[in-house]
Symmetry: C2
Subunit: 252 residues, 2 copies
């Protein structure tokens, strides 16, 4: 008899030890990611402590959000873990940026009003479009130097609760101010000042200076195209966004 390892575990026990499910073990087995050391005569999976070490690695890498395919490659003897971790981190950071944008959009729409009543569909749509544009305008990142990139990364403020409340209040007052200035000339200094405040505030949660999409005001102005659910959730008048858009265009 060759010297057998001290212990072998059946599926359930083994799974509990590592904090995964039996089904996951089946899955990893089928993928060739983790095959049990042996099978019993009746076909039961029997895992060794060495298998446990491998499973632990899988669990850790999975925690870092890596896909199983990549994990399999990383568990090969000649894999470059350091590089993989670095890349994975970049992936995670990008995902987080996207999450931040979504969170900020909701924040903006939800708490922009002092009353904290209904979120505003128009504003939500507007913010999301701004962010998508900013996203697409990220050729800056691709074409500018690494240093510029680093600066961009650093500048990101990441909504603190304090910032959030402050911005929330500022939105509320800004809306009120714009509403009372609706009759003004969009090119007037007063309108320009409002537009500047708007732009600045938008920058607070888009994380960069926003580019204003030109053709949207028509969409916002014509409510007839809105499906019913949208029409209910309206606290901000389209005129407000319309006015601001015009004012910004006037500033060229």
């Amino acid at each position: 008899m060759t010297q057998e390892p001290k212990e072998l575990f059946k599926a359930q026990e083994f799974a509990r030890l590592a904090g995964v499910t039996v089904r996951a073990l089946h899955h990893y087995d089928k993928l060739g990611l983790l095959k049990p050391k042996q099978r019993s005569r009746s076909g039961y999976r029997l895992y060794s402590p060495r298998d446990f070490g491998r499973l632990e690695q899988i669990v850790v890498l999975k925690y870092l959000g890596m896909p199983l395919k990549q994990i399999r490659r990383l568990l090969e003897p000649d894999a470059n873990l350091s590089q993989a971790l670095q890349r994975q981190q970049a992936v995670l950071l990008e995902k987080r940026r996207q999450l931040d944008r979504a969170v900020a959009a909701i924040q903006g729409a939800q708490y922009s009003f002092a009353g904290r009543g209904e979120p505003d569909w128009n504003l939500l749509k507007y913010i999301v479009q701004e962010m998508e544009m900013q996203n697409n305008t990220d050729w800056t990142k691709k074409y500018y130097s690494a240093e510029a990139q680093a600066k961009v990364e650093t500048r990101k403020p990441l909504w603190s609760p304090e910032l959030q409340e402050r911005v929330s209040r500022e939105w509320a007052t800004l809306f009120a101010d714009v509403e009372s200035a609706l009759g003004e000339d969009p090119a007037s200094p007063k309108a320009q000042e409002l537009a500047a405040r708007w732009k600045k505030l938008l920058g607070e949660f888009t994380g960069g200076d926003p580019q204003i999409q030109q053709g949207l005001n028509a969409m916002y102005a014509d409510q007839s195209n809105w499906p019913p659910a949208t029409q209910k959730a309206h606290a901000i008048k389209p005129e407000i966004i319309d006015f601001i858009t015009k004012a910004m265009r006037a500033a060229r």
Copy 2:
């Protein structure tokens, strides 16, 4: 003739207008999420401006990370948008917390050494396990008051580049210090001080005070169970973690 809307769009044009793919339109159609106003005799989908409004909503809600099923419910006339947004935000924030933990784990393992050489598997595993435990120990959140929760939320520091560098340096010196103290009694004041530093540093990126898992040192100590890939990526000696674990246990 009844008054027809001014325009009808075929799939591609319509898709381009809204920034989605034709295939997505097919998908939404099949799901009943967005059915074109009409079909041509030959079966072509013909979308109206009103459909465009609906599609815009879909795109916005999708940007916020909502699943299509929920979006469909939200587009019904009696939906509660505000509530849905609030819930969605909670979902996003939770996801972001998870991302943060993963990022921090990589940071910790990757940059813990001054040399920035290889990441350390042991430390990585350790950190991840800490975080999982902290995750499971989140009954605090469930059972404590909302105010306590808010404080927890607020406290989160969110790795700034500066913090990251500082922590990175502190890890490096801490490892060196522990290594030179390996012969000491884990209960000695010196060891205790090291353990305290360790605990504090761990807290920096786990975002809370860590709970030390008792049964791990055996695992860390016995390298024979580690699969080959792991053994390469080792800069930190298991003795270091072993020592710290003992010191912390000695502190009871």
